[in-house]
């Protein structure tokens, strides 16, 4: 039986504090739709980054298109700064297989050649299928078989981690 799920709201300031010492003038942040964008929207103002927040949807770069087709409403990718030479913080909510991050990196290189990319996640649930690790991780969470860890956002903007059936 896994323990209680961590409080997403409590993880945010700790994650911001861990990032604080590593911000340079070349740092910029990109959040992955949808959960990663929520996390990035909260972290971004805490870090005083010069560039506005970038948002990315990786629908056109997924590796399961042949099986799943195009999911219903791809969001728009908005990167309001030059990617070239940038030290990027790539933000997602839950790190699992690593496939989303792989797709995101492919998409990023179609915008330019960043100097570096560091992965920032609110929660790491293990189960990697690719050699990808987070440089900054809010919490490690054990997820029972057949379940999925999801980030939810309430109407008042509060973030919370929840388990649901993987279905």
């Amino acid at each position: 039986m896994p323990g209680k799920l961590p409080d997403a709201e409590a993880l945010l300031p700790a994650l911001a504090a861990a990032l604080q010492g590593h911000i340079t003038p070349a740092t910029a942040m990109i959040g992955l739709h949808t959960g990663g964008a929520w996390v990035a929207e909260r972290l971004h103002p805490l870090l005083g980054l010069k560039e506005p927040l970038g948002l990315m949807d990786i629908a056109f770069y997924r590796d399961d298109y042949a099986k799943q087709g195009l999911k219903h409403d791809p969001k728009r990718t908005r990167i309001p700064f030059e990617v070239e030479g940038r030290e990027l913080l790539l933000v997602d909510d839950v790190l699992y297989t690593g496939r989303t991050v792989r797709a995101a990196m492919n998409e990023l290189f179609d915008y330019g050649r960043p100097k570096s990319i560091a992965l920032v996640v609110l929660a790491d649930r293990g189960g990697r299928q690719l050699p990808i690790e987070a440089a900054y991780c809010g919490a490690r969470v054990e997820v029972p078989a057949g379940q999925r860890l999801r980030l939810k956002r309430a109407a008042n903007g509060r973030l919370s981690l929840e388990l649901e059936d993987a279905g």
């Binding site: 949807d57 629908a59 056109f60 770069y61 298109y65 042949a66 799943q68 087709g69 195009l70 219903h72 409403d73 791809p74 969001k75 728009r76 990718t77 908005r78 492919n106 998409e107 179609d110 915008y111 330019g112």
Partner: protein, 316 residues
């Protein structure tokens, strides 16, 4: 009720043959999906890997450089391999049947067929005879339909006017021979545009067109009053001096869009044209190049819309 030949068992888009008969949700899905693709085409790398390894065959049984080119660009921006076949001058002239041609191409591992044919219904015939993993997109069949043109018109209207719920749209000119007009009328009524008008001489308006939910005007000035969107249709060269019209000059006088006629529409009206334009026949140069014209953005949006259609059907 017979199953819709465009949808698979899950109600998803399998082939795009006509806007007619497509539910509102699918039209909206295509328009919504086209939006992020429009942004891809503004990037440095105008390509996404979605259809990598898939083959798109452009089957043009009727010549159309422009439509073929936009499909080719769209497929290439999805990373598909594109094979252009100008069949008007190859197999058909050797007497091969339509379905034999398609069976041969299918044996070459096609994934998507983009079909332009002078006969209405040809893409339906092909769609009924392809394998389950193959998809057909109608790029214009006879007088019947030109769904991707209709969709790019809808995309353009939504881009500038945001919502269909209050719009008055006028479609002007040779409605009788226009597959563009037919596709657009079906799309506009499905998406809830409250007033669609068709304007043209009686000889170029199909009888019974009111059944599609449009209002008919023979007086262009009356028809343009209060319009938000004016869609001009191309007058084919061969009709200009044919039995249906006195002359191109006469047509321009009555149905050519000039600045003074356009002034009767709303001040923020947009002017569209599917191209290629006949300046001085259906549209005056000052309007075609004027501030209301969105004719060139239509071309750009057309690529994003065709990317969306191919990405959706090839994934279903």
């Amino acid at each position: 009720m017979p199953a819709n030949p465009q949808l698979n068992a899950n109600g998803e888009l399998q082939h795009l043959l006509s806007i007619e008969g497509l539910p509102r949700e699918i039209l909206t899905q295509i328009l919504d999906t086209a939006q992020p693709f429009a942004e891809v085409t503004e990037r440095e790398v105008k390509k996404v890997p979605l259809l990598r390894g898939k083959s798109v065959f452009n089957l043009f049984f009727e010549a159309s450089t422009r439509t073929r080119t936009t499909f080719e660009i769209a497929a290439k921006r999805l990373s598909a391999d594109v094979i252009n076949l100008n069949i008007a001058v190859s197999s058909q002239s050797k007497g091969e049947s339509l379905l034999d041609t398609v069976a041969n191409l299918s044996a070459m591992q096609a994934d998507v067929f983009v079909v332009r044919h002078a006969s209405s219904g040809a893409p339906y015939l092909i769609a009924r005879n392809v394998k389950p993993h193959e998809h057909v997109i109608n790029a214009g069949d006879g007088r019947h339909a030109h769904p991707t043109q209709g969709l790019l018109d809808l995309y353009t209207i939504r881009h500038y006017k945001k919502d269909f719920a209050r719009l008055t749209v006028a479609i002007v000119g040779d409605v009788l021979h226009s597959r563009v007009a037919r596709s657009l009328i079906h799309g506009l009524t499905t998406l809830g545009a409250p007033e669609v008008r068709v304007i043209g001489p009686q000889t170029l308006i199909p009888t019974g067109v009111e059944a599609l939910g449009v209002r008919v005007f023979q007086d262009m000035r009356a028809g343009l009053k209060g319009c938000d969107v004016v869609v001009m249709l191309r007058l084919q060269n061969e009709r200009m001096n044919g039995p249906l019209l006195p002359s191109a000059q006469e047509f321009f006088k009555n149905y050519g869009l000039t600045a003074d006629k356009l002034a009767l529409a709303k001040p923020d009206a947009i002017v569209m044209h599917p191209g290629p334009m006949n300046r001085g026949v259906e549209i005056d140069s000052s309007v075609a190049d004027g501030p209301h014209s969105v004719i060139l953005p239509q071309v750009t949006f057309g690529i994003a819309v065709r990317m969306a259609v191919m990405a959706i059907v090839a994934g279903n």
